[in-house]
Symmetry: C2
């Protein structure tokens, strides 16, 4: 394989939790996502040379940046000392609940592995992406990072050891995601959670996780819908998302199978059967968000099965000996 000197990659946004599957379920969507450009250098250092689209909010210091840490951890693991310049183009809102930091970390880990000639399999890049996430957020959401890295719908069966399972999804399943421009910091959303939950509610929740997985794997759309109920996290978090109940009602009335908070919000997502319904659901949710006076972004797509992709690559100039 020709050795690359620079590469440009896209890494997708992700919906984590997926209503009933707090911390264990996630899936990738086609848009939005981040673009990263990585270039090998002779500096011997990993540097973040540019960040766009973040309104100056993300750290340029490589050890504090999710993409920077992913590259540092990757190189450390392989025992390689290599200069790399990273340019990060954020193309999705920060703190949106769409796995923004996971997309950057996954894109960085994917890009550096491609630059090195892909010595590791894609699934083996997850630990580096998670280290990136940990640097950015204080903890690692494998449900976002695994979905962004592997594409498709994933179950993080276990964190220790990390065990990620791909779940097949029905052909005609469509996702609608809406992001209202309101700020809901992830850390505050985490703080809302209780350390102890009633066993009765936990049983309800794992019944629904089982039902959602069975519904997805058997293309049973009605079962998918019935299983999209969260009795543990959503009742707490939804209170901080303006208009949550109204948006849900509009989405369900427009034909969505089910509804939920994306990650820790404020984005909200639905599943629908077929693109027409997904589009109608989008319009219904937009109406509510508009009436509340918020600007927003809305996305309709299938579950993204690709994960990160190469946008452009440039081969290394061969030095003549």
């Amino acid at each position: 394989m020709e050795k690359l000197s620079s590469i440009s990659v896209f890494a997708p946004a992700t919906v984590a939790n997926v209503t009933c599957g707090f911390d264990v379920l996630g899936f990738a969507i086609d848009a939005p996502g981040d673009t990263l450009e990585l270039t090998l250098t002779e500096t011997g250092e990993v540097r973040i040379t540019e960040i766009t689209g973040d309104e100056g909010k993300l750290p340029l210091a490589v050890e504090k940046n999710t993409a920077g840490v992913a590259v540092l951890e990757y190189l450390k693991h392989l025992g390689i000392k290599q200069g790399v310049d990273i340019r990060l183009h954020k193309q999705m809102p920060l703190g949106s609940g769409l796995g923004s930091s996971a997309a950057s970390a996954v894109g960085a880990a994917f890009a550096i592995n491609e630059l090195m000639g892909a010595p590791l399999e894609r699934k083996d890049l997850l630990p580096f992406a998670l280290e990136g996430e940990r640097a950015a957020c204080g903890f690692a959401h494998a449900d976002n990072a695994a979905a962004a890295l592997m594409g498709g719908f994933v179950l993080v069966r276990s964190y220790e050891p990390l065990d990620v399972v791909n779940i097949s999804v029905p052909e005609d399943l469509f996702v609608t995601v809406i992001h209202p421009d309101v700020e809901v910091p992830t850390k505050q959303m985490r703080k809302l959670l209780k350390e102890q939950v009633p066993l009765k509610d936990a049983v309800t929740q794992w019944g629904n996780v089982g039902g959602l997985i069975a519904g997805l794997m058997s293309s049973d759309y009605a079962l998918i819908g019935r299983s999209m109920e969260d009795v543990i996290v959503e009742p707490l978090r939804s209170t901080l998302i303006p208009g949550f109940q109204e948006v849900r009602k509009a989405a369900m009335e427009a034909g969505a199978l089910g509804f939920g908070i994306s990650g820790s919000g404020p984005s909200q997502f639905t599943f629908s059967q077929g693109p027409e319904t997904a589009q109608k659901v989008a319009e219904a949710m937009e109406e509510v968000i508009k009436s509340l006076g918020f600007t927003y972004q809305v996305y309709v797509s299938k579950v993204n099965m690709q994960g990160p992709t190469v946008l452009a690559a440039e081969a290394q100039q061969q030095s003549t000996v």
Copy 2:
């Protein structure tokens, strides 16, 4: 259809909880099980005329007997006044964790429906079986009753409203169940449970429920095995089952995919790939139980896909007008 005057049916034992799926997962096995004989009479009353195999422990009073209540509730639902004599032959130990009361209730509901010319579909008999269970135990385990009634492997996604989902299982999945003759009352086992559980453990549990269902539906034996971990119920209940850790160790060393308490014990079960391994696992568990000085019963089968079956039936004598 010729109207029946009497019927003899078999209803299978069941394994509920299935390690990680407390109160939501269950499956039927080929043996043991209960046999019930129901005969239509002119008495206008539902009576339990005989119970064998229970060492005199089960109530003959029809409103207190799981089979009796199932028949009463069924007839009440249809608005039929009909005399029925029930003979119940217990062919499995009581309080074994093998769904003994569910088998009797399911057998009774199935039998009376057959005698009435099967006006209800099988799945619609579940509420009557559950009323029978409630009479016997004070609460209804739908995970046992639904598996005994429908056969196969079931997920009780929701209790209110009742939503039972059939989960496909791999061709070569075998079950080994061992019942040591020790008494562990269900109510005491229930009391061990805590009303609140750590969210962290609940997340681990629903990751495993998702993994087990995905493993079963995709015939991924290794994933089935990895998912058979219970961090919530087993740590408490296993302390009351003599030799639990040793039996587990022996089963796993003999090649079982995974291990767990059947229902609330003391029976223990494993899944294995293939009949030879399931048989080896049986022998390994027997060795341990024997060395502890207990008598036991051991059963090896596939997951029972039939549920209750008719053993014999007798047609009504036609009265000449």
